[in-house]
């Protein structure tokens, strides 16, 4: 936990007395009072290294100058930062640095925002006493995204330390020694890493720069817009820098946003998707079977007229709408209002249905909140963290950094239930930091959770207060778990009861415990139950209402949480309130001055089913792409083909938009204003950085224009007006503070859950899943293993579980238009555990065929140590063919379509 000690120390800096917390470094104390001590190697994110000597100051009663970046304040200390001696020291340090620095500022992208320029300007004489030849490193190609110019390096090692301490990637090596130290990757290999851009951002000079905007700008030419990244639920602050209408670069200042200026590859290098040449320039209208350009008037009139006619003929419930979570809250809000008032139906749904809804529903059910009761600060401050199916580095990289910070900096104990094998790779692996790691396939995450809960109830770890408060609840859980013998649990989890017991003890012992649950659980059959069980774990251990404790379901899409809160889902009204919540309906009707539609909503799979049955005639699709997201088995295409009207608001002509009758070009996040709500429930401002591409318009504006044409105007002057209306409904929504105001759990709801709510499905939730149907996570020593090794010879192939999921370098299909990210990953390949790869005799790049009843595909192989045996991973961003193999099952309660994995046979080609 960050030093929360209130102990303070008084000292004097340049004659001014200051009081700062004990442990503060002199350089920070000075900064707090507005004195900037020059420095290179110091960075508040990193441990002091004191290698550059730039920050020397005079401290009375200390014999020599001291490095202020590594000296903690002491009571009564008297510091001078600008005496003659100190200035001389600054001068000499710079003279040594400049002895080798090429001074090629005119061709250096750092020019204009370079610490070395600034300090030289301030401290050095204009001449040098050095006559020697300057050091010259042979120029080496570093990577497609990151450029190095080592002659400029001041050897502060900030890049190396960032990559290690913050990222845990350790991709950079200061090779050589002394002046000849050079930052490299591994010998002459190109950089292969997370490409978070952190080293680019933290280098104080122009030694590490981005190649995406090489030589294209001077900092003072750029216009800046502070906004929010659109690639995942972490909701990082980004500053988009533009020249004219061109995107030049993206970065994020230290201290900015929930991400504290850290980004991942998608945020830092993924910005070009927005300006991809394939962006739709004008509306498209289907004429004689072809989509052809049309004017906005033509397109909107066509939609309005067709809608009016269809509504007359079939009624409002022949309509449905789907919206992507990449839209702003304003878009989502107007969308649901349009569907409910203008069309008159509740049949709307969105991408939160793919999994996020499972977490939200569990929270609402057990504790009456729709948001986390914790925030990123609580993750950093936790004593114990439990990660379940998060694959956090790849899906929510910045939440991942909070976990790394908690573990690496503040010694939190990490428990992980992940489909990851701890292994060193080119990207970080959270299992490496874990104290108690359980590596299982996604279908069995829930089993390990049961194991932990069994350990809690059978190890006498249940909180006293709870046993008194809800004896029946505790007994019901204990009883169901007693029916599952440890041996069975051990065999389906590959974990010993001892290991589970130790992990449970570590969890219980912590005062602050945060449980993070990711898409691996939420998008896998049983996800709703596992999320609920994790809340049981918090309840049983008496933690759920403790400050700093809670369950945090990770949102994959950037505004999944906003979609829930704006009521753009089948079961919710804005708030969110349940669709049948009488009071909420009345309030809303009062505000909208209109009755709300009575009939129930419909979820994604119901909508598709109804369309296939011919009951849905018209569908509005805003940024969603069911054909591109769902497996073929979901028959989305067949459903959409039957529609009489398919309207798509899109950036690109997606697989779904290709079937549309009308395609309306929408603005990307970079061209509009509004708000996004991140996974923590923090509402943040989205600001346009460039003008709309072509004739595109914000989604809400398109819907608003349509509403006018349909004689039912819902009009707004700008996005702010919409937010104002949202605030009328949800008081205080999006007040844009620095951190989210986290809700407390609703004790009445908890009480109800403990008394009776749990009983609905406790039997079903406390069952082992995936048992017997396939073998995985088998210890590699069993004889089954050697059988498999023999049986697994090339000819009959190997049985595996294929998991199609998110990777670090992409987000949905959108990022595949970002040229920077395509440099890192431009096609799908199958990640296989090396032993499985050996079993079928394949190595990197070899082709394999995957087959099951549903179909087959061929792809190339990548051996990955972090993939467990018996599993194969494939990036969903390139899953065109893989989707053929996947099956769909729908959650009976939350209607989530589970479609991320399949059993396949793999054979070498």
């Amino acid at each position: 936990m960050a030093t929360t000690t209130t102990e303070t120390v008084r000292l004097t800096i340049d004659g001014v007395p200051v009081t700062v917390p004990k442990g503060t470094l002199v350089i920070e104390a000075a900064r707090q009072m507005g004195v900037m001590i020059p420095h290179f190697c110091y960075h508040p994110k990193l441990k002091p290294d004191a290698n550059c000597r730039m920050c020397l100051v005079e401290i009375e009663r200390m014999p020599k100058l001291q490095t202020s970046c590594s000296t903690p304040v002491a009571e009564g200390m008297v510091v001078h930062t600008a005496t003659t001696v100190v200035n001389e020291a600054h001068k000499s340090v710079l003279e040594f640095i400049l002895a080798n620095h090429p001074l090629d500022c005119p061709v250096c992208d750092q020019g204009g925002r370079c610490d070395l320029q600034d300090f030289s300007h301030e401290y050095t004489p204009t001449t040098s006493r050095f006559l020697e030849v300057k050091r010259v490193f042979p120029k080496e190609y570093f990577s497609a995204l990151i450029e190095t110019q080592m002659n400029r390096c001041v050897q502060c090692l900030r890049c190396v330390r960032y990559c290690d301490e913050v990222m845990d990637v350790k991709a950079l090596a200061p090779s050589g020694r002394g002046t000849m130290t050079e930052i490299k990757h591994f010998t002459t290999h190109q950089l292969d890493c997370e490409f978070c851009g952190g080293c680019v951002q933290i280098c104080p000079v122009g030694a590490i720069t981005s190649r995406l905007d090489l030589y294209e700008f001077r900092p003072w030419m750029l216009k800046r817009a502070d906004t929010v990244c659109t690639y995942c639920g972490d909701g990082c602050h980004i500053t988009i820098q533009t020249k004219g209408n061109d995107l030049i670069e993206v970065n994020s200042a230290h201290g900015a946003g929930r991400n504290n200026g850290d980004l991942c590859a998608r945020g830092f290098f993924g910005y070009h998707a927005t300006t991809h040449p394939d962006r739709l320039q004008s509306p498209l209208l289907r004429r004689n079977g072809e989509l052809v350009p049309a004017t906005w008037e033509e397109a909107l009139e066509f939609v309005a007229e067709t809608c009016i006619a269809l509504k007359l003929k079939h009624g409002p419930d022949a309509f449905a709408g789907l919206i992507a979570s990449r839209c702003t809250n304003e878009d989502l809000y107007v969308f649901q209002k349009f569907m409910r008032l203008v069309i008159g139906t509740n049949r709307i749904d969105g991408s939160a249905r793919y999994g996020h809804i499972n977490g939200v529903r569990a929270l609402r059910r057990v504790q009456g909140t729709h948001r986390w009761t914790v925030a990123f600060e609580d993750i950093v401050g936790a004593e114990v963290l439990l990660l379940v199916g998060t694959n956090i580095t790849e899906t929510n990289p910045i939440t991942g950094l909070k976990v790394k910070e908690a573990v690496k900096k503040y010694n939190a104990t990490l428990l992980t239930i992940e489909a990851l094998v701890p292994a060193i790779g080119t990207i970080s692996n959270i299992a490496n930091l874990s104290a108690h790691h359980f590596s299982v396939h996604p279908e069995r995450f829930g089993n390990v959770v049961l194991g932990l809960i069994k350990a809690v109830v059978e190890g006498g770890l249940v909180a006293q207060t709870l046993t008194q408060r809800a004896p029946a609840y505790v007994e019901a859980i204990s009883q169901t778990l007693r029916a599952i013998p440890w041996e069975t649990l051990e065999s389906v989890t590959g974990a010993t009861s001892q290991a589970l017991m130790e992990a449970a003890r570590a969890f219980v012992a912590a005062r602050r415990a945060v449980v993070l649950v990711g898409q691996g659980v939420l998008r896998t059959p049983g996800g709703f139950g596992v999320a609920t069980n994790l809340l049981d774990l918090l309840l049983l251990t008496g933690k759920h209402d403790r400050p700093g404790c809670g369950l945090a379901p990770l949102a994959e899409e950037n505004n999944d949480q906003g979609a829930v809160e704006m009521g753009a889902l089948a079961e919710f009204l804005p708030g969110p309130s349940d669709l049948d919540d009488r009071a909420a309906r009345e309030r809303l009707a009062g505000l909208w001055k209109e009755e709300l539609p009575q009939r129930p909503g419909a979820t994604l799979m119901q909508i598709l089913g109804d369309a296939r049955a011919g009951n849905v005639k018209a569908l509005f699709v805003v940024g969603e792409n069911p054909i591109g997201s769902l497996p073929r088995a979901a028959q989305a295409k067949e459903a959409l083909e039957r529609l009489e009207l398919l309207v798509c608001q899109e950036l690109f002509l997606t697989d779904t938009a290709r079937l549309a009758h009308v395609v309306l070009p929408a603005c990307s996040y970079a061209e509009k204003d509004g708000t996004f709500t991140n996974t923590e429930g923090h509402v943040q401002a989205v600001r346009h950085a460039i003008d709309p591409i072509g004739e595109s318009r914000p989604d809400w504006e398109i819907l608003s224009a349509l509403s006018v044409l349909m004689g039912y105007p819902i009009e707004y002057g700008d996005a702010k007006e919409i937010l104002k209306e949202i605030r009328n409904l949800i008081p205080g929504y999006g007040l844009l503070g620095p951190a989210p105001a986290t809700p407390r759990s609703d004790e009445a709801v908890v009480e109800r859950y403990l008394r009776e709510g749990y009983a609905e499905d406790v039997g079903a939730r406390y069952q082992l899943t995936g048992a017997g149907s396939f073998d995985m996570a088998q210890p590699a020593t069993s004889s089954a293993e050697s059988d498999r090794r023999d049986a697994g010879k090339v000819k009959d192939g190997l049985q595996l579980t294929l998991v199609v999921g998110q990777t670090l370098f992409h987000s949905g299909k959108l990022s595949t238009r970002a040229k920077g990210l395509m440099e890192v990953q431009n096609a799908g390949s199958l990640g296989l555990n090396p032993s499985d790869a050996d079993r079928i005799g394949v190595t990197d790049g070899d082709r394999v065929r995957l087959v099951n009843q549903a179909g087959e595909m061929t792809t190339s192989v990548r051996r990955l140590d972090r993939v467990p045996e018996g599993m194969a991973v494939f990036p969903e961003h390139f899953d065109e063919e893989a989707r053929r193999l996947l099956t769909v099952s729908v959650d009976p309660v939350t209607q989530v379509p589970y479609c991320k994995s399949a059993k396949v046979r793999i054979e070498r080609l």
Binding site: K170, A173, F186, T187, N432
Partner: protein, 176 residues
């Protein structure tokens, strides 16, 4: 693969350190003894054994002049270039060697007999200028001694001018 060939040695080395990563130098030394220089494959393998990344191994290899990243000749001449030796004429010694061998530091003679390197202080500052050839020290080296040493090495593979014997770091497992 080192792991197969030196299984016991590696275990023994690892057992000496409470922190796994500390075994890096001895393992690199083992790798170098095996192949005469540290190969990329060895660096990767050692990274795997110690659970660190290959760049972290590479960083250490490049720091120590003791480790070679390229094959060296039969006799690896390492001339101390640090301050004390510098004051008593290491540049003359180096110049003489370059002239005699016809190569610059970092190079190997075409007959692959000699590789010339410059290194940091070898802790023999009182007897400079000095150099180390393979595992042996040669101290207070003059031009005339260089000529004799080179001739001896070519002829006999060793030279009586070497100092020592010194206690060398024993290769784990090799003590009989």
């Amino acid at each position: 693969m080192l792991r197969e060939k030196y299984k016991d040695e590696i275990e023994q080395i690892l057992s000496r350190y409470p922190v796994r990563r500390s075994a890096l130098l001895p393992l690199l030394w083992l790798a170098q003894t095996e192949e005469e220089y540290v190969t990329e494959a060895a660096m990767k393998e050692i990274a795997g054994i110690l659970r660190i990344t290959p760049p972290q191994v590479y960083e250490v290899v490049t720091f120590y002049t003791m480790f070679n990243l390229r094959p060296v000749g039969k006799f690896h001449i390492q001339v101390c270039k640090s301050l004390m030796c510098g004051l008593v004429g290491s540049d003359v010694l180096l110049g003489w060697l370059q002239a005699r061998l016809g190569i610059s530091p970092g190079q190997t003679t075409p007959d692959r007999l000699f590789t010339l390197s410059t290194v940091e202080c070898l802790a023999s500052c009182g007897t400079g200028p000095m150099m180390q050839i393979n595992d042996e020290y040669y101290e207070r080296v003059t031009e005339e001694r260089v000529d004799r040493i080179l001739a001896d090495l070519k002829r006999d593979g060793t030279s009586p001018l070497k100092s020592g014997p010194f206690i060398l770091p024993q290769l784990a497992g090799s003590e009989k």
